[in-house]
């Protein structure tokens, strides 16, 4: 394009040369030639300003055109027949080789975990990713404004819905759903996998998005010894070896008594290694006897029925099993990571 003003004409030529060399084409908008013209526009005598301004604006539009053209090479595509299985004059597309496929390590391990629990008699049901205060706190014996709520840095939507910080959001639901069968003499045995969220910064060992598995068992005569034995049985099946377990007293509003549950390190058999930080033990989950208020909230009579519940992270299980050093790999979407898990 030709410009009346020589200054603009020269700038246009320089810009064109510059543009050809640029990697990031849109950065041409900040080119010194353009900046110089804008500055010049402010100080130019009023009688010349109109025609100079017009030229500058035209040049600007031209440059925008270059950027647009570079960004979107509007390819004219042949129309396709979407009802056909392959394109005109083309061979039918082939699938990628099966060996390049992979499942996410969290899915793989979760499936293993669910299979074991299924064999132990537990049904499975998923937890939601968007829930309300009732299921996150109230039904779990967290009174309004209770300081124990501070331990869960929950994401909250404008409407007041919560991104669940634990899979316990399902406790009330599975208890209510199982009440009828329970009263007909069938125990409630459910495990609940789910994606959970904590509003915290991400680093090699912290994620705002992670995976948990919750378990609930309610029947007549269920006691804390049953809880410890159930978890031990699962862990021994999962790690395919005999393990020692121990509990530490803990506090959760929704269980009483509450425990932190630890197992002897399955990787070094208690000798001490990097995974267990040379202690021989690993704390892996929280658990306890379901609080009577939680049972009562689901209309189950705590005088007749007792039960236990537990919840633990899946991510750490997977990280320990494969020696994954950085939790951020899980959501990276990187094929370098994913294709290692067939």
């Amino acid at each position: 394009m030709a410009y009346k003003n020589g200054e603009v004409q020269r700038a246009a030529k320089q810009l064109k040369t510059r543009f050809a060399k640029l990697d990031d084409k849109s950065s041409i908008r900040r080119a010194p030639e353009l900046t110089a013209l804008y500055k010049r526009l402010k100080i130019i005598p009023p009688d010349q300003r109109a025609s100079f301004g017009k030229d500058v604006n035209q040049l600007k539009a031209e440059v925008e055109g270059w950027v647009g053209a570079a960004r979107e090479p509007r390819v004219e595509l042949n129309p396709i027949d979407v009802t056909a299985p392959f394109d005109i004059n083309s061979p039918p597309p082939a699938l990628l080789p099966a060996k390049s496929g992979s499942r996410h390590p969290i899915s793989i391990e979760l499936q293993t975990v669910l299979n074991i629990y299924s064999r132990m008699g537990f049904t499975a049901v998923e937890s939601p990713e968007l829930d309300d205060d009732y299921h996150m706190f109230k039904s779990l014996n967290f009174p309004e404004g209770h300081p124990a709520r501070d331990d869960y840095d929950s994401f909250v939507t404008d409407e007041g819905y919560l991104a669940p910080a634990h899979t316990s959001t399902m406790q009330n639901r599975v208890l209510r759903a199982g009440k009828k069968e329970l009263e007909a003499g069938k125990a409630i045995r459910v495990v609940i996998p789910g994606r959970v969220f904590r509003n915290e910064d991400v680093d090699a060992t912290h994620e705002h998005t992670f995976y948990q598995l919750e378990g609930v068992y309610v029947d007549r005569g269920i006691n804390a010894g049953h809880l410890i034995a159930t978890l031990k049985t699962f862990l021994e099946e999962f790690y395919e070896q005999a393990l020692e377990v121990k509990t530490q007293p803990f506090y959760f509003p929704f269980t009483e008594p509450s425990f932190e549950f630890a197992m002897s390190c399955p990787f070094c058999r208690k000798k001490g290694c990097a995974v267990c930080k040379f202690t021989g033990w690993m704390e892996i989950l929280g658990c306890g006897m379901i609080h009577p208020n939680v049972l009562a909230e689901a209309k189950i009579d705590p005088a007749r029925y007792t039960g236990f519940a537990w919840g633990g992270g899946i991510d750490r299980l997977v990280m320990m099993k494969y020696g994954i050093e950085d939790i951020r790999h899980f959501h990276s979407g990187s094929l370098k990571f994913l294709r290692q898990f067939r």
Binding site: E72, V75, N78, I80, D81, V82, A84, F86, D87, I88, N89, S90, P91, P93, L95, L96, S100, G101, S102, R103, H104, I106, L114, F122, T123, A124, E126, P128, E129, L130, G145, P147, F155, V156, D158, E159, Y161, K186, N199, V202, H208, N223, A224, G225, H226, I228, A229, Q248, P249, F250, P257, S258, F259, M289, H291, F330, H331, G333, S334, L338
Partner: protein, 823 residues
Amino acid sequence: MKVSVNWVKQFTDIELPIDKLVEKIGAQLGAVEEVIDIGKRYQGIIVARVITSDRHPNSDKLTVCKIDDGGVVKKVSRDTQGYAQVVCGAPNVEIGMLTAWIPPGVTVPSTFDKEPLVIEAKEIRGVVSHGMLASPKELGFGGDHSGLLAIDEDIIPGTSFTKAYKLDDHIIDIENKMFTHRPDLFGMLGIAREISGIQNTAFHSPSWYLNPKLIDAQSTTAQLNLQVKNDLPRLVPRFCALSIANVSVGPSPVWLQSYLMRVGIRPVNNVVDLTNFVMYETGQPLHAYDYDKLAGGSLVIRYPKEGEGLTVLGGKNLSLHKGTIIIADAVKAVGLGGVMGGAGTEVDDDTKNIVLECANFDMNAVRNAAMEYGLFTDAATRFTKNQSPLQNPAVITKAAEDILRLAGGNLASPLIDDKSKLPQLQRINTSSDFVNLRLGLKLSSAQMAALLNNVEVETKPSGSKFSSNVPFWRTDLAIPEDIVEEIGRLYGYDHLPQELPPRDLTPAKLDPSISFKSRVRRTLSSAGANEVLTYSFVHESLLKKVGQDPKNAYHIRNALSPDLQYYRLSIIPSLLEKVQPNIRAGFGEFALFEIGKEHFKGATDRDGLPKELDRIAVVVASKDAKPGAPYFAARKICDYLLDELGIGGVFYEPIDRQKTSKTATYYDSDRTALITVNGQKIGRVGEFKQSVSSALKLPRYCAGFALHSNKLVNLSSPPSYQSINRFPSLDQDLCLRSTTKLTYAALLEFLKKQLDKASAKHGYGFDIFPLDIFQRPKDKSYKQTTWRIRLWHPGRTLTTAEVNELIDQLSKEAKNRLKAARV
């Protein structure tokens, strides 16, 4: 909660070695985060007396001292009288004083955990100094570095510093979270009680705690008029205060400083230190005000006035919010109730008269204040655990007596005890059966009573039943299950019998949705696709890049990162974001998939909660172009998946451009199909708009599809069987030239209909599939589709003649009805 073992020993005996004690605390009280052996820090430090102190020949500020250590330190050079020579820079050094000597070869305690500084004998300006005399700071007793630690007790020189101050101690740091419901465990007294209990021995609280001889209002001649006015009795159920006149404020004795140091409290002065000391004994926070700085000699508990502010200890200025509990004098705010005192009424070295406060604040109100003002103080930590309002008179009496003893002065007001309705002491009735059933134990009620009585939960068994009186400091005990927890813990959970629950043989039901997704995962990975997990939350810019309206997405109001502003409306955009990074990482061709949930604002479920849509999403990409449009590569995977899942009757229909989707905004409508199964919409497959492509830097060869997982579950069927044909089948190819506009599906449907007719008439079985679609570059309005038709008869061998006749008939119909000529 940092616990000093020697401090605890003032209340109870501990026979166990430290490692066994820590193990027992972990198993029966709460997880131990750390154990610090502080005795190690003070190893080798000796109490010494300064015998002479002379000016250093080459310095104005330094002195050269001879010190007496009773000759206990070996390998140090001494003068003829047996004294060691130390160069000292402290202004307060004087002949006859006792202080702490760090001899050569010993580490400076304050450097112990960082870069240990080991003192050596060395020349300082020409004079040899054998070790150093230590300041409180160097000993780890707070920040005072202005002079030497002046030992204020008559200790024989040569005594080890550790022995003199019981520093052969361990600090056991127990996780606070365990004590969320246990206010009593934020004091050494409460910890001692539990340690006694888990050692199976009876604990006896000191009488000043259980049966205090309260400071008698009658016995004091009120010299300082003190008034308390409580406008917030519901939030501050109890407020105890008294005044003390003529105190001497100064540094605390070394023993007191040494105790505060162990639990991480910086010594300030004797009055403030004692309030902290008593708090660490009982869990009950206290506060001391300078009486002369309180206008009107009064304390008012009220809400802030409009625009009122407060400068708290440490200098932070707060503008007070509506609803905050404040303590005020007649004019101004002087403290943030239950959290922190004000700087203006601080007790300092010039203070003569003080007011001591020992109050009870509502836990939720304190929690809100701590969070609103970002002040997470020791007091707030304790009040948020629900401190008992029944211990205040005992605690304030203890603190007042300690202050009178260490700081002098006299009681100058009666003990003011402003209280509203206080909680009644509870009694919990339960039975050994109730407890045993929940723990799996076989303990008698007498055994249970013994465990409870050890921790002063007074319990009397009668038969299998027993009733327990809840002591006033246990605000957590209310229901029989609380007693179950106590007994289990005190007995030891590790002693519970570990038996699996009895279970019938009913097989566990499989969740159809979970097993289905697992099947999808296997199928897609066998098609060479890679499963990814991406976040459920997205940045607003991603929604905009793909043309979605953020108004339709749930907005997160408190996300720390802008990357997590919205719940995603669909999964495809999250997958598209992962395409370019993988291409850059050197992957030329790949398919990504994710099975996840989508949320659309406004859509609700039966229970009124946001509806969650289970979705299977797949994206294929190739850095380099490939023959054919990428649409067909995506569709190929979709076909494979649906086929493997046993889903038949699948149709791909051009989409109706009038019906725009609010979520699937990223598809190029000319190159996208709606996927239906028997008329039911199950998803879309397509290529992406060029705007989306360029915004996400996608390669040209990129397409994807998404399916409703919930709908597919019900459509999926197991493989079906057809009896094997005994007679050979015959293949015949048919090539038809038709207009390009005639869709593949229309042509196929027509041919199938014709074949169906013939099949019905002659009993044929048939199969038809495409071999090739050809178009001459110069003739784009026509195409040639080649079909292979396979025919058989279940009862006989077909002849070529009859097959040819059928194909001829088919061609004729195609020509007449569709103007599709056989080539």
